[in-house]
Symmetry: C4
């Protein structure tokens, strides 16, 4: 670990068919992370690259067998009949602003090396509103992508999100443009308070439509059931001035706490 | 983006007449940024240089057409009959103290390269007072500039602002001195709570006087009207012990939130 | 101090028998630090290496004779009839995330240089519960260590601690794995509010069992007595909903404040 | 400003007699800064070196004539009949922990270059107690200095201050030891809430005793008078449980705000 960023690659030479990169890292409601983690499991993806960096927290996670694993990100490969998916998932984003730039440069380097033709970064879009119908909004690095994505039900609103997109989901779009790779950020609406598998399931559905693939969503349904029970326990919801239901305060139930 | 700072320059060799640099980056009340952005539009300035840096936030902005743009600063050229204006504007200042030094060194390098003979950095001066008559105070890197600026209505008060000038508006003056370029910081008074196009219009007027140019201010008037309506909604103003009117608390209306 | 990290080594060539590294740096309840400091005193360990770094706080400690000592960590050697113990102790962990990576790489380099065959990092595991029977939970970098440690009374619970292990105690396990050195993190349960010599004594007992050595614990007993008196002063304990006793608020008694 | 730290030296070759370095940078109660600034004025010291660094805040101060000055530190020379004083004073300490290490390395390099035989770093020691008789406590990097300093009325208490000494005042002692330069930190007791010229005057008196020089203290008396009037305005003092008088809350009067 003498270098700022290190990675271990298991296979250097890969023959990929229609390679598409999917990025689902920790973020708002863990909407994107839950989708990426689900894809890896449901499609039995194979880990290709481990990424460690001093820009990640100085931390290990403890696995079920009580062995430790250094915090990092990982690139997986899942082969489908329509596309080979390179799925970037992991435990954390950079702890410092500059680290986001270094790490996203690394990620986009992988996309370039594997001749990826499209990138989809997945995230959450916090609305603060509870019990709303989930939908997905998009932003792109090439205006020509918009019509096709609209056909798949992605919404595009002028200058939305108003605060821009922070972290890897946004930077990757900008860096991909410099390499002439089409990239879109797909954001599932979520309250923003808790991990939101319901939003993830909607986002997964849209992504599958875009990629023209089918993915079993049973494991996400299980997570939604668990989450519903937790939310049930939070009795403290109130009706806001706008008639919408809000949580009175950010949830502190331990089950909702997520790492990253 | 392997380097700490990168920039793309569209034209290396420029023949400029009486080149003056104007700096209006995000800051107190966005007074300086609003003037610079207005000048770019009103004078139909041409973008010459894009500046990106890992010292900026790891973030993209979403444009009206739903395409993204990496957070950065930009140098524009506006030709007037009295002076060629190099206008530095953008989305953000450095996120870390050291980055201010690196970025301002870059900016002053452009000033030097284009033989700029004067620099005006524009900012806001927070007074906390509402409904006050706006005025402009100045600080310089060469005492000989003061008389001329006073003639144009810029006020100079000993050791004011008492806390000094933080960020690019101040550092650029110090760095310009090392290169023997005259530079002044012009600060429009503002409450400090919200974006303040009214202060910007007063500052624009003084700057035009100094440069002996005329600039249509209609777009700023439009912004002032919008802002007045927003402020109207904020009923929570109170009368302070000194007889002045204050806002009870920093405004949190979404329309007032500004990026940077 | 021109380099990021410097260290002074008193002896380069050492003949060690069954070298084991013990790491007890400041952290939760100072449980690990108290054990390491106690071992150094009880076993009359000899200081071998001083480690200073700009990743430590810019601070000196004042010793009893009013002379100052730069904040740092230190590696000691204690010879026992069963093993030579390399004990890493000190005043602080890194002040910045990246520094943890640099410092732990240094520490693991010492382990490698001295042919250490096992590493035990010592820490605290905050439960928030007062007056509970102390126990020790473990995490390892090699699953084969678990059975032996269980025999010595170390508990292993799936994926515990749920938030992973932050700082040197965790990173060292991950880095040791890359060098094929078996390493375990042993965490004594503690309230998490105050320095906890009681937990340290339990942890010391387990460690001595693992190493098959005996260490006089009188000095720790003295510290426990002092701490009991301090806790007695804190009358503000309350009974939580779960029937357990909690402190009403983190203790602020000066005697409890610890550095690091 | 391409380098991390730059300095301009006016005179490289100086013949100094009994050179002693005095360090008075911003800190607790500005006790040390006020003494250093007073010495520079009272002894008509000559500025020798300007020190700028990206570790300082990205800020300029505005002087009385409305010209700006980049935040930095400065080394002055004051010749007395007993010793040549190299006085380090300035606007700020490092904004980041690592910067303290870099800057103190620079400072100690100057001490070495000018063959300084003793260093006195000046600071404040916060007691929280109002209206107490001011005294001065010391810490040293060489135990042999203590007896001489005690004769001049400096108090030495075991392991005091209990939290060590943070910033340049402490680091310089540690770094000086590596170069075999005797150094002491002299700390004037102060409430810790406000700039404290009264404590500075007591500290100045002790320092003059140690150096066997006389310095007119009229300007400090003026500052004490001003400060007394400000404190008079703060009616909110209360009697603490220990019978001592405390301020109810940290003073927020603008006159008391100090930069650094």
């Amino acid at each position: 670990m003498n270098d700022e960023i290190i990675y271990h690659m298991d296979q250097e030479n890969l023959e990929l068919t229609n390679p598409v990169m999917i990025v689902g890292l920790p973020g708002v409601g863990h909407v994107g992370k839950l989708v990426a983690d689900h894809l890896i499991e449901a499609l039995d993806a194979k880990k290709m690259i481990d990424i460690y960096s001093e820009h990640f927290p100085p931390q290990v996670m403890v696995k079920e067998d009580s062995t430790v694993e250094l915090v990092g990100n990982r690139l997986y490969l899942a082969k489908t009949d329509k596309a080979d998916l390179l799925i970037l998932a992991g435990d954390s984003q950079s702890t410092d602003p500059a680290g986001h730039y270094s790490l996203c440069e690394l990620y986009i380097g992988f996309a370039s090396q594997f001749n990826v033709n499209r990138i989809f970064t997945l995230g959450g879009y916090p609305t603060g509103i509870v019990n709303e119908e989930n939908y997905v909004i998009g932003a792109v690095n090439n205006v020509e992508m918009i019509d096709g994505l609209k056909e798949q039900g992605i919404q595009f609103n002028p200058s939305e999100p108003p605060g821009g997109i922070v972290g890897a989901s946004g930077l990757i779009l900008a860096f991909a443009k410099l390499r002439n790779i089409d990239a879109a950020c797909l954001m599932g609406t979520t309250t923003g308070y808790i991990a939101d598998p319901k939003s993830s399931k909607v986002l997964l559905g849209k992504l599958c439509g875009i990629l023209d693939i089918e993915v079993n969503a049973d494991a996400l349904d299980e997570k939604i059931k668990n989450m519903d029970q937790i939310v049930e326990k939070l009795k403290d919801s109130v009706i806001g001035e706008d008639g919408e239901e809000y949580y009175e305060s950010p949830a502190s139930d331990e089950d909702l706490v997520y790492f990253g």
